[in-house]
Symmetry: D2
Subunit: 344 residues, 4 copies
Amino acid sequence: MIRFDCDYTEGAHPKILEKLSMTNYEQTIGYGEDNYCKEAERIIKEKCGRQDIDVHFLVGGTQTNLTVIAAALRPYQGAIAATTGHINVHETGAIEATGHKVLALNSSNGKLTANQIQDAYDTHFNDPSAEHMVQPKLVYISNPTEIGTIYSKAELTALSQTCKKNNLILYMDGARLGYGLCAEDNDLDLQTIGKLCDAFYIGGTKIGALFGEAVVISNEALKEDFRYLIKQKGGMLAKGRLLGIQFSTLFEDNLYFKMSKHADEMSMLIKKALIEKGYPFLIESSTNQQFPIMPDTVLEKLGKNYVYSYWQRIDGIHSAVRFCTSWATKEENVIKLVESIKSI
Amino acid sequence: MIRFDCDYTEGAHPKILEKLSMTNYEQTIGYGEDNYCKEAERIIKEKCGRQDIDVHFLVGGTQTNLTVIAAALRPYQGAIAATTGHINVHETGAIEATGHKVLALNSSNGKLTANQIQDAYDTHFNDPSAEHMVQPKLVYISNPTEIGTIYSKAELTALSQTCKKNNLILYMDGARLGYGLCAEDNDLDLQTIGKLCDAFYIGGTKIGALFGEAVVISNEALKEDFRYLIKQKGGMLAKGRLLGIQFSTLFEDNLYFKMSKHADEMSMLIKKALIEKGYPFLIESSTNQQFPIMPDTVLEKLGKNYVYSYWQRIDGIHSAVRFCTSWATKEENVIKLVESIKSI
Amino acid sequence: MIRFDCDYTEGAHPKILEKLSMTNYEQTIGYGEDNYCKEAERIIKEKCGRQDIDVHFLVGGTQTNLTVIAAALRPYQGAIAATTGHINVHETGAIEATGHKVLALNSSNGKLTANQIQDAYDTHFNDPSAEHMVQPKLVYISNPTEIGTIYSKAELTALSQTCKKNNLILYMDGARLGYGLCAEDNDLDLQTIGKLCDAFYIGGTKIGALFGEAVVISNEALKEDFRYLIKQKGGMLAKGRLLGIQFSTLFEDNLYFKMSKHADEMSMLIKKALIEKGYPFLIESSTNQQFPIMPDTVLEKLGKNYVYSYWQRIDGIHSAVRFCTSWATKEENVIKLVESIKSI
Amino acid sequence: MIRFDCDYTEGAHPKILEKLSMTNYEQTIGYGEDNYCKEAERIIKEKCGRQDIDVHFLVGGTQTNLTVIAAALRPYQGAIAATTGHINVHETGAIEATGHKVLALNSSNGKLTANQIQDAYDTHFNDPSAEHMVQPKLVYISNPTEIGTIYSKAELTALSQTCKKNNLILYMDGARLGYGLCAEDNDLDLQTIGKLCDAFYIGGTKIGALFGEAVVISNEALKEDFRYLIKQKGGMLAKGRLLGIQFSTLFEDNLYFKMSKHADEMSMLIKKALIEKGYPFLIESSTNQQFPIMPDTVLEKLGKNYVYSYWQRIDGIHSAVRFCTSWATKEENVIKLVESIKSI
């Protein structure tokens, strides 16, 4: 069986394992205050083109989201997200467990628009009973989204301006950030994201690391005492250097982007094969996830050799599924899959 | 500088890194449902001598404590702990952040006694205003404690009986469990702990793993839906196999205990040197942490070559400090330290 | 100006004020353990036709909802509610502040159906990633709903059976319960509700009391230590007798139902006038709230003498508004309003 | 039986009941935005001698404490309190339920000193592991304390200066504020308290109201969106005017202080009798609570006609108990008690 069900089926890029082995017996202080973390921080600041940001390393995505959001909100405030947003569906209520409502807005493509945010803001603050409702304060977006779409520079700029205008915090979940930044139609980069968002994270878990997410914070209010929150929420790794080592390796020689580009290219091969076969898509995606709608009979056959993610039922005989590539996807396996699709 | 300040200054036992490398390109499902986790679970059940326990793997200690305690308590219930208990002092209020008070009891040696628990229980339930106070429900102990002491079988049995009698949950934080079980004066083992506690965890972070703690649950009520809580609290590792691989490696060939024994032996060498030199101790410890009380002038000298943890001021010219060994402590470094102590 | 904007514009039924004055200098113990609370409890048990229920008195609705829901759920569980449900919109995230997600289901009439619940349950538990999502555990309904509709006995029975079958807790918010039970088309009563729901509350604030809600619990698990939770959540009134006195007065001589019936009758007079004038309604209601859709020009005129609640914009020249009657609504004022409507 | 066990055994001052009756059929808007609340706010601002404060009315003390503290703290911050502080013992963990640790400091007289606060602050911020511990941010004091003692102007000034210097928030729980301000040895007043504290509340429940506490906030950061929090925490009374009516009545003609003075005088009569009889006191108190230490045999006799609060066991044959007076205490009953004490 070849797995295309998600982007965390393998371990880490071998350079990371190598570096972990090489440094294994060095003695360092704990909790992310070692030199490897400092070095990773230095490189990320450089990539973001500025020094006035804070960089923190956490273990996983849910942990990162709940920590940032807990840092950002007062108790009666909530986080706006698309209904498909990870925090709204797939974190077992982690945000609510910190006391905050996720204010879910409908979205057909996983993205939020500046207009939606302005509307939600106006609706709340124009209501004479505003105090009886959760106050929107943070806007959570994912890029790429959970369904593979990406924000354009224009879209993100509009969102950012709307947030700034209304004193809202803009936070980007970048669990798959590399796969977004390396998409053919992408026009964003780390510098721009750092400028437009109050905080975002660069996902490592799904892009070549064993685990780890690098949070970048530019908003001063969010910076304050952030490490207290990391510790309280259980996200402060004792051997913090493991994160520093991983992220400095990922960002040396642009390894992170090389791996991301590879995954996107593999995804495009699959996409092309599906298009040629005439399958429609649940959503158009230029990143490492493809969501074709296929006959159940075909899926059953493919399922004998390939693992995909079942996404949703479309009708009595069709389903949408997800094929997912990653930094670790072998081209030979993609070619096999493409052949199988062609030969159906 | 040679570090004796804590037990997480190095990476992991080389066998773990080896195994991670070997398995790196295998494709597995995520979130701890892979075969490596199943294998680690199998071995731990075997070591505990029973099948009717649940085993879960989490990343770190604070995360583990807050997840277990959140699983165990209703909103108005609290966790009894020694004032020195990790949850009471060094987790940035992680337990309170899940809504629960830590009910701290004084203890001169870091341990709780059955009598203390019975008293706390009686005091609460005999009070006509009990409803106005936090109800004690879980008893948190650490073994070894934060100051290196260990529970005897008799003490733990008494605690366990008191808890069962009063329908309290007994939970053991085993961040350094191996160092306790391998102490010369220890008479506990995994089977006994599994029988006497409702839940406990076997610490990996401080004993040879890169990171990771294995939670063992025997109490049926605590077992229910525990994975939901791991996910919600941010502790569910996407590449869960990293934990499975580490714990199956740790428990093959008793590696965990061999490493623990080594650390304790190294600690005893330091202890012996300190005793011979006539230094008193803040607390008698047979595990990997030693807390001598030493003149500040001596400490200053030692501090030029060795890193220790400053613990507390004793008087104008003496302080208590901590020397900590671990699985990774090199005998040659301990010999150097011993020589330095002798030659003061 | 005559207010028809809500059902808490006046104080309390004069009998309540009388009784408060009469008993003012009696000395009683606090926190709801006095004889007036016991008496009110006795009467409510009688009205519910059973002794095996617990009755508690709290100050207000939000407080009651958050306390019951906190008592019912483990941290990863959520409360299903209609999108219009009070807990989903008008409690400033009180439920989320206790750590729980409100799982909102669409509803055109403010009510939930047994099928919706079964679907939500199946969708969750059939999902292989269920652990990554909030587990539905409690079903929150309001009767009458926030938009004036009521559940029939058949509907509530179906809901109850679905909940019991799936081990879900059924909880009814009865902020306006009397107005529902006295509606012309109602076929429910306290006994039936007590049998079909795990918990519900009888609203006093909106029906003749100064304040106060009586929670009735039949589910054994919910009963346990409920008073601890009342105290923790700030809902335990020091002079608890104020609630006992109010509820025993409300349920003597069926005062509660007499007042409710009056409000419904007043509402029907308004409804009839609106129908005769040909105004459509946002929703058909037989209780004390009416939601006509009217031209903005007409509303502006009415607004000079009457206060109504603005509900929502329908189109460029029409809006839905709410006219609300209560136990205190004077017939003469309703007649004036009816005349004004007629004469438009 | 004559009750001296607490200060909420009766209803309310008759003027309050009168005013409630008189205004009963007036129609007002809800949630504290009516004219009675505005009037009460006006008077309280006048009594505090300034306009730049916010005044809010809540139902009870626990609710008030948890709402203010939730408003003041970020998630990793805690509230310093004396071990005897109400929030530390008698609120069923209400503060922890909002996520915050109570940092309890020992105190022999229920009061905190400026030095203690400075020490706690320094201890935290000088610790290299500060991030692993709860950050002290708010200082909770009660005046009078739970054991009847009061702060002098000098003590409160010192506390206030220490807090300001260290950017800590000073909050005073004034559940019995009147009884403190009317004590013979008191040198504080509302103006001074308003200047020295960031927030405090004027207790109504225990001093003549049916219920209700008036929160006064001078700190700008605390003012922001405070009503959202009142609503979320379940403390926003629908018929908010009930609070406005009560507080405007309490502060007309200094009724609040007249009632308080009466209670203190009654307390002094009891104190004098106890002193004359030679009983020692657990603590010296000039307010409405007296804590004599008496032989159990004597207490048993007194217990036949009087209800007191059992406080704590002193030795095998002595106990400390509490005699509590209030605005409603009848002089004739005090005389009876004094006679009984004398005749033992």
